[in-house]
């Protein structure tokens, strides 16, 4: 087990290094931050000096090594545009993104699971067909379109919910939360729904497929034969056995949601990490861009590694594939 853990961790570290390298290669095509930092009247010499001070004239390997060495120590430098420590910037924005993702996940489960069960149990009913149709729309509409439509309906026409921002927040230690104020909760509704549309349909389709499978199983038939009420069979016995893959998927998708929150955050001016990244791209704020990419990929890698390790813990056959050949 220890060897397995070590191997997994080494894999993860390698992936992180590769991501850092990729990020660095991409940055070469992003252009020159100095042109964005100085104003019209700066002389050519000023620009050259600044480029030198930022270390942009150093070789690729030097820059990469310096970046990785600092990053390992948690030091991503300071933002060109905001002149603030990058880690502080990201730490400030993380709660906003995390709360958004959390609520979107809850919505996707609360809506997606019942919808999945209904479409599986009442196949070909009008309700199920409508849900199925809705899920196709949910999958195919890009989330920024969903966002704009929601704003149009609920902010402009009805005037019920705010179109942008996070409302008032309350600080608990370094964590700022919008869940404790009325305006914060109101502001969370539209972005969370828009972020969860894709996720809802995903959960719904997964539950439906699993349910269809499970409902055919022998133990369901036995339960029925024993006279257990139908609703109890469906919602308790069958559904329970369908939830394992849903939980796995939800866990894995959290990384995805954090990354894709970027689009939702831009539409709703949600002050999260994605918004920070988009602005950094506009201003070629390299330290922020690098840190964001690394942190998001770290979340991905960490989740994946955790899932792998959990699986191995649950299922010993996965621990050592060399000993078992194709096992």
């Amino acid at each position: 087990m220890i060897a397995f853990l070590l191997k997994r961790t080494a894999n993860a570290a390698f992936v992180m290094l590769a991501v850092a390298l990729l990020a660095f290669v991409i940055f070469r095509f992003f252009g020159d931050p100095v042109e964005m930092m100085v104003n019209e009247q700066a002389t050519l010499q000023d620009r050259i000096d600044l480029r030198e001070r930022l270390g942009l004239n150093d070789g690729f390997v030097t820059q990469y090594t310096r970046f990785v060495t600092n990053a390992v120590q948690g030091d991503f430098g300071i933002s060109y545009r905001n002149q603030q420590d990058v880690m502080v910037l990201i730490k400030e924005r993380f709660p906003a993104t995390f709360e958004l993702v959390l609520v979107a996940t809850v919505i996707s489960l609360v809506v997606g699971i019942p919808a999945g069960v209904i479409t599986a149990v009442y196949r070909d009913s009008r309700l199920a067909n409508m849900l199925q149709l809705g899920s196709i729309i949910g999958v195919s509409l890009p989330s920024f379109v969903v966002g704009i439509l929601l704003i149009l309906a609920f902010s402009v026409s009805l005037g019920w919910l705010p179109a942008f921002g996070r409302g008032d927040t309350v600080d608990i230690g370094w964590w700022s939360t919008g869940l404790l104020t009325a305006s914060g909760r109101a502001a969370l509704v539209l972005p969370a729904i828009s972020l969860s549309t894709f996720q809802v349909t995903l959960v719904m389709r997964l539950v439906r497929a699993e349910m269809l499978e499970t409902l055919r199983a022998d133990y369901i038939k036995f339960a029925r034969a024993r006279g257990v009420p139908t609703a109890r069979v469906q919602w308790r016995h069958a559904l329970r056995n369908c939830l394992m893959p849903v939980i796995t998927l939800t866990g894995m998708q959290i990384g995805n949601l954090i990354a894709f929150a970027l689009v939702t955050e831009t539409v709703f001016q949600w002050p999260g990490m994605g918004m920070l990244f988009i602005q950094a791209v506009t201003f070629v704020d390299l330290p922020v861009m690098a840190a964001y990419l690394l942190i998001v990929s770290f979340i991905f890698v960490a989740l994946n590694t955790l899932v792998d390790i959990t699986y191995a813990w649950v299922d010993p056959r996965l621990r050592d594939d060399s000993a078992r050949g194709n096992g």
Partner: protein, 525 residues
């Protein structure tokens, strides 16, 4: 204990929102956030513009964009011609209560002109400054220089004592990775005080009751919220969540104008859009460069149907320009604004005469995030040039990608918009664009031209202290730029702000900078 802390915070929030309703609160939805609370940290004119509500300079622009006294009440040039003596306003206090004195001016000028300051270019002629007495300051320049006041409108004055206490005397330095207190805190003399700031979410300003000047505004609070997405900004304006935006998207103007609660304020920006040519020996393809000949530049100029661009691409909202500066800019004359006339046949003849090969390929460099409808007018112009037998290759990309190509001469023909900011004077484009590349001068001379006579005129203007004599020199230089067709002016681009009915008066400035100390809100709000 946590819970109690939390309840207190909630109560405070409730109290704030409760009291805000009775006040005049201007909710400003900008298209982006300010970089930090330190105007000297990043060469970003929007940040400087917003922080001008908090910090002030020695002089400022009035409603007609003329320079008037602010923290300085009067000034004179001493006999050596290079030292300027400023008398400072007495009885001014910073937001923290400290009095404003000559020490503060010297410390601020030292900070902004420090070696690591990205804004030191804003004081190009500055050498040193010295305290004469508490309310008198001498500023020494590197030569006779007429535009110091224009430069000083943009140099915000900090409190020396406050900077010393908080270790903020030096600007922040990205190279060394040092942060600064002034990035998070602000203490100026201006009409508004920073109450709170959440980056990318909200920055709140409250009116300064102790401001030295008689306020023309009636605002109690300004809540600046960045709303990057244009569609969201429009929605927020329609739903009344913001009451003012300084960037109403051009494509949504009819929709906004039709809404009963919104008023669109349209005007023409000072920014003149131009096309520049390469003056190097060869093009990027390696072929000999025909653009060094004036007749070829003239051919390209006459091939452009400026009227069509105005009508179709700019939807009739731009102002077609013949001069490289806008009418309000000192140095402009009507004669400079004459148009060449659209004549593609003459263009073909000129090209044939100059021996330009049929189907000549060259790169045409445009920005995707630069000027208003830039991509569209670049496409239009490229097709107009194709019609006279050239093959321009359109290269459109974001500014960050295109800037290095432009400055390093890795492209041929390019676009450039110039608003003459922060000087608001035609000396600005003459020095920065049309002068030969030389130290301070010609930083934006991307084509690499050099006209010694033109340089002589610009240099003479740069040390002429008599305003009329200086403007005559500048007009003459602009005429030379026009005659030689160094760059082709296209138009001044449109600008649009929008306010909701809560706002009674919002003066629109052609330099596109909101000055909310002139804004008034209706009494009903």
């Amino acid at each position: 204990m946590k819970l109690r802390h939390l309840m207190l915070a909630t109560a405070a929030v409730a109290a704030l929102t409760g009291s805000a309703q009775a006040e005049n609160v201007l909710k400003w939805g900008a298209n982006r956030d300010i970089g930090s609370l330190d105007p000297y940290s990043f060469g970003d004119s929007f940040t400087i513009n917003v922080l001008n509500h908090v910090y002030e300079g020695l002089v400022r622009y009035n409603k007609d964009l003329k320079i008037e006294p602010a923290l300085a009440t009067s000034w004179e040039i001493l006999d050596d011609q290079i030292t300027w003596r400023f008398k400072l306003r007495e009885g001014v206090t910073f937001h923290n209560g400290n009095p404003f004195t000559a020490q503060d001016v010297v410390a601020s000028l030292t900070r902004v002109s420090h070696e690591t300051s990205p804004l030191k270019g804003n004081l190009p002629a500055y050498v040193s400054s010295a305290v004469v007495d508490d309310y008198t300051v001498d500023i020494t320049l590197n030569g006779t220089y007429p535009l110091l006041l224009n430069d000083l409108t943009n140099i915000h004055i900090f409190d020396e004592e406050w900077m010393t206490q908080n270790d903020a005397l030096m600007p922040t330095d990205v190279g060394a990775g040092t942060e600064g207190y002034a990035t998070y805190n602000a203490n100026g003399t201006g009409p508004f005080i920073v109450e709170s700031r959440q980056p990318d979410a909200k920055t709140v300003f409250v009116a300064n009751a102790d401001w030295w000047d008689e306020p023309q505004h009636n605002l109690d609070r300004i809540e600046l919220t960045p709303v990057n997405s244009a569609a969201t900004r429009v929605a927020a304006l329609l739903s009344g969540e913001i009451s003012f935006t300084n960037d109403a998207p051009v494509q949504d103007l009819p929709r906004l104008a039709a809404a009963p609660n919104v008023e669109v304020l349209e005007g023409v920006d000072l920014r003149t859009v131009m096309i520049g040519f390469p003056f190097r020996e060869t093009l990027t393809t390696g072929a000999p460069n025909p653009f060094v000949q004036k007749s070829v530049r003239e051919a390209l100029y006459k091939a452009i149907d400026l009227d069509l661009i105005h009508q179709k691409v700019m939807r009739g909202k731009s102002r077609t320009a013949g001069a490289t500066v806008a009418p309000p800019i000192p140095g402009y004359t009507e004669a400079l604004d004459a148009l060449p006339g659209h004549d593609p046949e003459a263009s073909k003849a000129l090209l044939a005469e100059a021996g330009v090969p049929e189907g000549l390929e060259f790169e045409f460099n445009c920005l995707s995030d630069g000027l208003v409808n830039e991509e569209q007018f670049c496409q239009a112009i490229a097709s107009m040039w194709s019609r006279i037998g050239l093959s321009p290759k359109l290269d459109v990309a974001p500014r960050a990608v295109q800037s290095p190509k432009r400055t390093n001469g890795k492209t041929d023909v390019y676009t450039l918009g110039w608003a003459t900011l922060p000087l608001l004077d035609s000396y600005s484009p003459l020095l920065q664009i049309f002068h030969s590349k030389d130290g301070n001068a010609g930083v934006f001379n991307w084509g690499g031209w050099s006209y010694p006579e033109l340089d002589a005129l610009i240099d003479a203007a740069g040390s002429e202290l008599d305003l009329e004599a200086r403007l005559d020199l500048q007009t003459e230089a602009l005429q030379m730029v026009k005659d030689e067709m160094i760059m082709i002016p296209l138009h001044q681009q449109p600008m649009a702000w929008a306010v909701t009915e809560e706002v009674a008066d919002m003066p629109l400035f052609p330099d596109a900078k909101p000055r909310l100390w002139f804004a008034r809100m209706g009494s009903g709000s």
